[in-house]
């Protein structure tokens, strides 16, 4: 099913609730960013740092690898998802791991790691509360920061077999269940929000501390991360730590912002994943590599709020997902750049100033095949005489026929009346 069909299904079920919940987060974000008087300067700074990063990505990757090794971290470079998954599997096999605790990582979703490990007999427990909920429901996250925003407390009670739907009660129950998993896991896997090139550090931001437990308790901690997450130095990291949580959820900073170096009680491994990123640098879509996955573009998107994340069918939904998904599968996701009114709200909230409207129009072009009739129409419109001819034809077309041609409009809305006379005759 395409976006417009899934959107109707979702909206009729819970669109208004979903819209309201996410708009409340947008408002919290607005309030939080207005507390920082230099907010717009921070955005410009963040955007400049990211421009520098994508222009110097190869050098920064090399610098990071050198410094991470010096720090005492084992580093791998994976060309694609398959290579990444195999590296993870080998690392787990080495210690004969049976169970891993995972914290949120959009990259492992991109690589399909969970399915791959399960197929190889390794149990994967997602430990972010929202991610655990969707995992137990047999679903994928519908939002990259609020993975279970499409569910209700009743849904959560149901998967836990509880009749009590009190959120605090359910959270405590989940916490207890997860604590047992943490204590018995053989390894922890997490993503990283940032990599600091000058130090070789990985920075992980969570609100639940689940990444920290997974990093500290088991003897092996694997960090899977896309190469674009690199920032040059600690000073630049400061800019992003100030921006990330405010823009995502309206918090001043995430509850846990941990800088990981060498692991004291075992082994820490970082797998840098390319999976098409270096190639993307040479395309018109290279600016999408500036994204820090703050999710503000999803939360603000008026279409996303009403259609839900699953209507995008890709692991990263919303405006940024509509720029990433067609690069993975052009045919399957060609409807996504059109699931958008080009309202520009995403561009306004984007902390690294990705030019969304321009990129989305570019993506529409990328997924659209040349059409000889459209080409002819475009050429004709250079001439006022031809335009006038079209105008005559439309005026002679009977209204029912017009309504049929424009049925997606007329199903829901009245068509405007066509006046007899034009202004420029």
């Amino acid at each position: 099913m395409k976006h417009y069909e899934l959107a109707i299904k979702f909206y009729k079920k819970q669109g208004p609730r979903h819209d309201k919940a996410l708009w409340a987060i947008r408002q919290k974000r607005d309030k939080a960013i207005k507390e920082v008087k230099e907010w717009e300067i921070l955005r410009t700074k963040a955007s400049e740092i990211k421009d520098y990063v994508i222009e110097n990505l190869k050098e920064l990757v090399d610098e990071f690898i050198k410094n991470a090794k010096k720090e005492g971290i084992e580093v791998y470079f994976a060309k694609d998802a398959k290579e990444h998954n195999e590296i993870v599997l080998n690392l787990l096999k080495e210690i004969n791991a049976k169970k891993v605790v995972k914290s949120k990582s959009m990259l492992t979703e991109e690589c399909g790691l969970n399915e791959f490990l399960e197929k190889n007999g390794i149990k994967v427990i997602d430990t972010d509360l929202g991610e655990r909920i969707v995992q137990l429901r047999g679903e994928k996250p519908s939002h990259i920061v609020l993975p279970a925003i499409h569910t209700t407390k009743e849904d959560v009670a149901e998967i836990l077999g509880e009749s009590n739907t009190d959120p605090t009660y359910l959270t405590r129950k989940m916490r207890k269940l997860l604590r047992e998993e943490f204590l018995s896991a053989d390894a922890g896997i997490s993503g990283a929000n940032f990599l600091v090139a000058e130090k070789g550090y990985a920075v992980v931001c969570t609100n639940e501390g689940n990444a920290d437990l997974g990093a500290i308790l088991p003897p092996l901690h694997i960090i899977s991360v896309g190469i674009e997450k690199i920032v040059p130095n600690m000073k630049d990291l400061g800019v992003f730590l100030r921006i990330l949580a405010r823009n995502a959820t309206g918090q001043a900073i995430t509850t846990y912002s941990t800088i990981f170096g060498k692991k004291e009680n075992g082994k820490r491994v970082i797998i840098l994943v390319d999976n098409g990123r270096f190639d993307r640098l040479n395309t018109q879509f290279k600016e999408t590599l500036k994204c820090i996955r703050c999710s503000a573009c999803l939360t603000t998107c008026p279409v996303f709020r009403r259609s839900g994340g699953h209507s995008y069918r890709y692991i990263i939904p919303g405006p940024i997902g509509s720029l990433l998904a067609p690069l993975v599968d052009k045919e399957e996701y060609k409807d996504l750049p059109f699931a958008c009114t080009l309202c520009d709200s995403c561009e306004m909230v984007c902390p690294v100033k990705i030019p969304f409207s321009k990129q989305l129009r570019e993506m529409r072009k990328y997924v659209t095949n040349e059409n000889i009739i459209i080409k002819f129409a475009e050429k004709s419109m250079h001439s006022a005489t031809m335009f006038k001819l079209f105008s005559k034809i439309i005026r002679l077309t009977p209204k029912p026929l017009l309504e049929m041609v424009l049925r997606e409009w007329s199903k829901y809305k009245a068509l405007p009346l066509i006046p007899k006379e034009r202004f420029i005759k």
């Binding site: 976006h3 417009y4 959107a7 109707i8 909206y11 669109g15 819209d19 607005d30 207005k34 008087k37 907010w39 717009e40 603000t300 008026p302 279409v303 009403r306 259609s307 750049p337 059109f338 699931a339 958008c340 009114t341 080009l342 309202c343 520009d344 709200s345 561009e347 306004m348 321009k358 129009r361 529409r364 072009k365 990328y366 659209t368 040349e370 059409n371 459209i374 080409k375 475009e378 419109m381 250079h382 001439s383 006022a384 335009f387 105008s391 439309i394 424009l406 997606e408 409009w409 199903k411 829901y412 809305k413 009245a414 068509l415 405007p416 066509i418 006046p419 034009r422 202004f423 420029i424």
Partner: protein
């Protein structure tokens, strides 16, 4: 100062009165206005649908002789601005031109209260008002030019028109239009309005979409382009 009037194609076809009101208003304000007869479309429908178009270059050829180019539509102006042409920075949306170039304020100060729909291109692309996403001080050029009591929606989000979006995703387009209407006509805004509420804006495309929803839903409101309000107000001054 020679000014060229750019009549967006959909205005020419569907809302000739908006072009007429813009013309009368500008001429009454003493603007030396010309209307090139050979103008057509800025190319936006093609560019936003994934096709190439050299219509912005065609526009440049037709309009380059003017000191300023004015259009009663922010989305067409945004298309020309984005095309990076010699005419890009001298092409203005009507209210922008009145506000920034002619420095006009309070033109309709005796008008009854109106409800303003800040359209996306006006708000976020031309920055005719402060979008809620940014941390910048509040301002609204449309309000300044009008000068009467202007009520706004609580959320400054998109009305759901979106050009090609309105025919590709008719349903979501409609529900967005419905929530925009409900918001524009919220109880605080309606408190002091005795007659049928007037909803205005700088983009007739959004107003056409909202009007379409209102008609289907039997919601009573009058939709009036800003040019019409300003023309009427200027004539009664």
């Amino acid at each position: 100062m020679k000014v060229g009037l750019f009549v967006p194609c959909y205005i020419n076809e569907l809302f000739p009165e908006v072009a007429r009101d813009t013309t009368i208003l500008l001429r009454n304000l003493g603007v030396n206005l010309e209307i090139p007869r050979n103008q057509t479309c800025c190319g936006q429908p093609f560019l936003n649908s994934g096709y190439e178009s050299s219509l912005p270059q065609n526009f440049e050829e037709i309009f380059k002789k003017y000191d300023y180019i004015v259009a009663p539509s922010s989305s067409c102006v945004a298309t020309i601005r984005e095309a990076n042409l010699s005419v890009s920075n001298k092409t203005f949306e009507l209210v922008e031109f009145l506000h920034d170039i002619l420095q006009i304020r309070n033109l309709a100060k005796n008008h009854q209260p109106v409800i303003l729909h800040n359209s996306c291109h006006s708000l976020r692309m031309l920055l005719e008002a402060a979008p809620s996403e940014l941390n910048i001080p509040y301002f609204n050029k449309v309000k300044n030019v009008l000068g009467c009591r202007v009520l706004e929606a609580r959320r400054d989000e998109c009305c759901g028109f979106g050009g090609v979006f309105s025919v590709k995703e008719g349903f979501i387009s409609y529900v967005m239009g419905k929530s925009k209407l409900d918001d524009l006509l919220n109880e605080d805004n309606l408190k002091d309005i005795k007659d049928i509420p007037i909803i205005t804006g700088v983009d007739m495309s959004c107003l056409m979409h909202l009007k379409g929803v209102a008609e289907k839903e039997n919601i009573k409101a009058e939709f009036k382009h800003i040019a019409t309000i300003l023309r009427e107000a200027n004539e009664t001054l």
